[in-house]
């Protein structure tokens, strides 16, 4: 993610030479993820929340809900609004101010996973057709960018949604209930460098590669979203290879951390 991160030539060479030997700086295999931990309900004031650690990267996602007006073209559907804050405490290259295009892309990819997988039944969030529906705010707070914050943020979003309780009582709309979740989309990102594909890139690996592909897959093994990013190119065969591994990795992550 951190395209603006600068690393020294000597480190770059070091990573590159390791890569030629088939190794990564932290000793992982090319398709190996760093250690993942997900803590849910860390923010009591939020309707749902999750703190995701992906190696040293840390992302906190909070979900808030409130009744509001539906969009005119979808009068019977709830609304999802996803936002990402790349706050300056998370990286020396983040700056205060309105979201830059990196933040916008991140938020839109997290949103794409939740929306396109149809993880949330939006029709069930209708209160009065055309007048009042539930609005879900998914707010992604990057706390520590040590690489691949996109996968961490996506994981945080679905984990937070899975722990979300609809605050109906607070708005006089009956009893609180658990937000029903129908799918668990998982985003998996790989970078390409010298025809080597590396999953879950760390911050230094991101700095040497200029091509990145994210695949978001659903519980039935289908793909609900993807995005190539960066100023490099990919061969179709590389794309297909990434898809194969990405779907497998997503399944592992889903089973281990979210379906328990």
């Amino acid at each position: 993610m951190s395209v603006t991160n600068v690393i020294s030539e000597i480190k770059k060479d070091f990573i590159y030479n390791l890569l030629l030997k088939g190794e990564r700086i932290d000793g992982r295999t090319f398709d190996q993820y760093r250690e993942i931990s997900i803590q849910r309900d860390v923010i009591r004031k939020a309707e749902g929340s999750a703190l995701v650690k992906l190696g040293s990267s840390q992302v906190l996602v909070g979900v808030k809900m409130q009744p509001g007006e539906p969009f005119q073209d979808t009068p019977n559907k709830g609304v999802i609004i996803t936002n990402a804050e790349l706050v300056p405490l998370a990286s020396p290259s983040f700056e205060p101010g309105p979201p830059n295009e990196m933040g916008i892309e991140l938020a839109r990819l997290v949103d794409r996973g939740v929306r396109e997988s149809k993880a949330v039944d939006l029709e069930a969030l209708c209160i009065i057709p055309g007048k009042q529906v539930w609005i879900i705010f998914i707010d992604v707070h990057i706390l520590d960018d040590c690489g691949n914050i996109l996968d961490a943020a996506s994981l945080g979003a679905i984990a937070a949604l899975m722990s979300t309780k609809v605050p109906a009582a607070r708005f006089g709309l009956g009893e609180d209930y658990i937000l029903p979740i129908r799918d668990i989309p998982i985003a998996t990102t790989a970078i390409e460098f010298n025809d080597v594909l590396m999953f879950d890139p760390g911050v230094d690996e991101e700095a040497i590669a200029n091509t990145r592909l994210t695949i978001i897959s659903t519980m039935n093994g289908n793909i609900c979203g993807s995005q190539k990013s960066g100023t490099g190119m990919l061969k179709p065969e590389q794309v297909y290879r990434i898809i194969d591994i990405a779907c497998e990795k997503a399944k592992e992550i889903r089973e281990k951390f979210l379906e328990a």
Partner: protein, 250 residues
């Protein structure tokens, strides 16, 4: 709003009479703007898009400049009247994301190291939208870059594939995009190096591969049209020297 509410095929043909793997009619014109260094107007089906290239030129604000190469800026902008419900003018999150990925679709082929401390500005205005504006914009921008004489390693051509009624289709139009099951735009070089790949909706890994292959075939066809348009303009210049060499704004 469901995909089942609308029938996408009649007698094996699509709503506008196309076959599943057929592009909409494409029209490309090179050098349509007098002030720009390079420009291109493109129609892809109901899309009408115009692209202009300025540069290499001095970078403002100056702190953005790079000591070793030119920076590339890409601004995708939709006219407020280009869509059914008036779009609020100015950049929104969608257009900022599209600007980013479109820039990254073109940057791999631009020889930016030839022009340190400068900027190549690409401005894309969507005048009329009918699904596939980002691909139309990239196609126009690539031609405009060539028209501006920016050194490039190759052309970039862009096309989308989609899925409606469980069928993979080429170049979805508005109805197919709105009510379809998936949309997958790509951009690539004529050699088949992919520089843009996005997808939303639902596809099996196998369908994904078929959609990529179909979109690549479409992009290859568009490449021929881009090349023809450029050749046409510059062969006219040879036949009528002097007419195109001096820009006259009247």
């Amino acid at each position: 709003m469901d995909e089942t509410d609308i029938s996408f095929f009649k007698d094996g043909l699509r709503l506008d009479g196309r076959k599943a793997d057929q592009l909409r009619p494409v029209k490309i014109e090179v050098g349509v703007l007098a002030r720009a260094d390079g420009s291109c107007y493109i129609e892809m089906g109901g899309n009408k898009v115009i692209a202009a290239v300025y540069g290499p030129r001095e970078v403002h604000p100056r702190h953005l400049q790079e000591a070793t190469r030119a920076i590339v800026r890409y601004r995708y902008n939709m006219a407020s009247f280009s869509v059914e419900d008036r779009k609020r003018p100015g950049p929104d999150r969608r257009s900022q994301e599209l600007s980013k990925v479109s820039r990254e679709a073109l940057e791999p082929v631009i020889l930016t190291s030839f022009f340190p401390r400068s900027v190549i500005d690409v401005f894309v205005e969507v005048l009329q939208a009918d699904a596939g504006t980002r691909t139309a914009g990239i196609n126009a921008a690539a031609v405009a870059l060539a028209d501006a004489g920016i050194p490039m390693k190759s052309m970039i051509s862009s096309c989308a594939a989609g899925k409606v009624a469980d069928t993979i289709i080429l170049d979805p139009m508005k109805e197919e995009d709105n009510f379809g099951q998936a949309d997958l735009p790509i951009a690539m070089t004529p050699n088949g190096d992919i520089t843009l790949l996005q997808m939303d909706g639902g596809l099996t890994p196998d369908e994904f591969q078929r959609a990529v292959e179909m979109a690549m075939k479409g992009a290859r066809d568009i490449y021929e049209l881009q090349r023809d348009a450029l050749v046409k303009k510059y062969s006219q210049m040879v036949e009528q020297p002097g007419r195109e060499e001096v820009h006259v704004c009247d």
